[in-house]
C-alpha cells in the first residue's frame, strides 16, 4: 500500500515531461571537455570565449528549458538516432536544475575574467568541472544533492503546513 501526501503529488512531474536519461549524460561529457579546456587555457582569450559559450549553453538549458540546450539538441538530432531505443527515462527537473547551478558558476567565472580576478575564475570553473564530471562519470547530480541542505539552512520556512 502506498500513500503520497498531497504536497508531494504536486511535485511529481507528469510522464510527458520525461526525457531520455542519456541526453543529460551526453551533455555532461561535452561540458566536462569544454570546462577542462577552459581551465587549461587560462589566461587567454580562448578560455574566456569557451566559458562564455558554456555559460550560454547552461543559460539556455536552465532558463529556456532542456529542449533548447544545444548539447541536448546535438544528442537528439545526431547521437540518439544511432543508439538503441531508450530504456531509462528521467524527470526534466533535476537536469534542468543542474544546468542552473552550472550557469551560476559560469557567471561567477565570467565576472572573474572581466575583473581580472584569475583566482576566482579557477575556483568557479573548477567547481563547475567537478559537477559536470561527477554527472558524466557517475550519473551524480551535485546541485540536486546540495539542494535540500541549502533549503534546510533557510530558517523556519516550510511552504506547506502539516
Amino acid at each position: 500500500m502506498t500513500t503520497i501526501n498531497a504536497s508531494t503529488a504536486a511535485t511529481t512531474p507528469k510522464l510527458a515531461r520525461q526525457i531520455d536519461a542519456r541526453g543529460p549524460r551526453f551533455g555532461a561529457i561535452l561540458t566536462t571537455a569544454v570546462l577542462a579546456l577552459t581551465l587549461l587555457t587560462i589566461p587567454s582569450t580562448l578560455s574566456a570565449v569557451l566559458l562564455t559559450l558554456q555559460a550560454v549553453v547552461f543559460g539556455l538549458g536552465s532558463i529556456v528549458g532542456l529542449h533548447a540546450q544545444p548539447y541536448g539538441i546535438v544528442f537528439r538530432t545526431v547521437v540518439r538516432p544511432r543508439l538503441a531505443a531508450p530504456t531509462t527515462f528521467e524527470d526534466q527537473a533535476p537536469p534542468r536544475f543542474a544546468q542552473a547551478v552550472g550557469f551560476g558558476f559560469a557567471i561567477v567565472g565570467i565576472v572573474g575574467f572581466a575583473t581580472g580576478a584569475t583566482v576566482v575564475v579557477y575556483i568557479a570553473v573548477a567547481f563547475a568541472l567537478a559537477a559536470a564530471f561527477l554527472n558524466a562519470a557517475f550519473n551524480f547530480c551535485l546541485g540536486c544533492e546540495m539542494y535540500l541542505l541549502g533549503r534546510r539552512l533557510i530558517p523556519g520556512r516550510s511552504n506547506a503546513a502539516l
Binding site: M1, T2, T3, I4, N5, S7, T8, A10, T11, P13, A21, A36, L39, L40, T41, I42, E90, D91, A93, P94, P95, F97, Y122, V125, A126, L129, A130, F133, L134, A137, F138, N139, F140, C141, G143, C144, E145, Y147, L148, L149, R151, R152, G156, R157, S158, N159, A160, L162
Partner: protein
C-alpha cells in the same frame, strides 16, 4: 601550467568522491540504540531497561500525515530535483504491496523542513524504516536496494 594541476586535482578528488558515494549510496544503517535511558523512548524487542532511542526519532501519524503501518512504515523523503527518488518510490511501493502491514509514505522534504531538520535528513531520497510503534529503526540516504529493505524489515518484525 596552473590549469593542468587544477584539472588533475578536480578529476582525482571527484573520482574519489564518486567511488565512495557509489559504494555507500543507499546503504541501510541501523539507528543506534543507547543502553542507558538517556532518552525516554524504549525500543520494542529490546530487554526492559536496555534499549533506548532518541525521542525525536519516534514518528506519529501527525508527523508523517498518514496512518502508520500495522507492522512497519517506509518513510521516503523526496524533492523535485531528485532523479533517484522515482526509482526509490518504485522499490518501496513493490515492497509495501508485497508485505502485509507495511505501508509506504512519501513526504515532500521541502514542504516539511521542520521534520527534515528534526530527523537530520540531508538529501533526497532518504528512507526511514519505522517499526510498528513509529520508531525510526533503520535509515538510508540514497536509493536502497529492494533486498536490503526486505532484510531490514525482517529484523524489526
Amino acid at each position: 601550467m596552473t590549469g593542468i594541476w587544477v584539472v588533475l586535482a578536480v578529476l582525482v578528488l571527484a573520482t574519489v568522491f564518486g567511488l565512495y558515494r557509489r559504494a555507500t549510496d543507499g546503504r541501510l544503517r541501523e539507528v543506534e540504540i543507547a543502553a542507558d535511558p538517556t532518552d525516554s523512548v524504549h525500543v520494542p524487542g529490546t530487554p526492559p531497561g536496555a534499549g533506548y532511542a532518541h525521542e525525536g526519532d519516534k514518528l506519529s501519524t501527525e508527523d508523517i500525515g498518514e496512518p502508520l503501518g500495522a507492522r512497519a512504515t517506509l518513510v521516503q523523503f523526496s524533492s523535485a530535483f531528485c532523479a533517484p527518488c522515482r526509482a526509490t518510490r518504485v522499490i518501496l511501493e513493490e515492497v509495501s504491496a508485497m508485505l502485509e502491514g507495511v505501508v509506504h509514505v512519501e513526504i515532500d522534504a521541502e514542504a516539511h523542513l521542520d521534520l527534515v531538520r528534526r530527523l537530520d535528513v540531508r538529501r533526497t531520497p532518504t528512507v526511514l524504516v519505522l517499526d510498528a510503534a513509529g520508531l525510526v529503526r533503520v535509515r538510508a540516504a540514497g536509493a536502497p536496494r529492494k533486498a536490503d529493505v526486505i532484510a531490514a524489515l525482517g529484523q524489526i518484525f
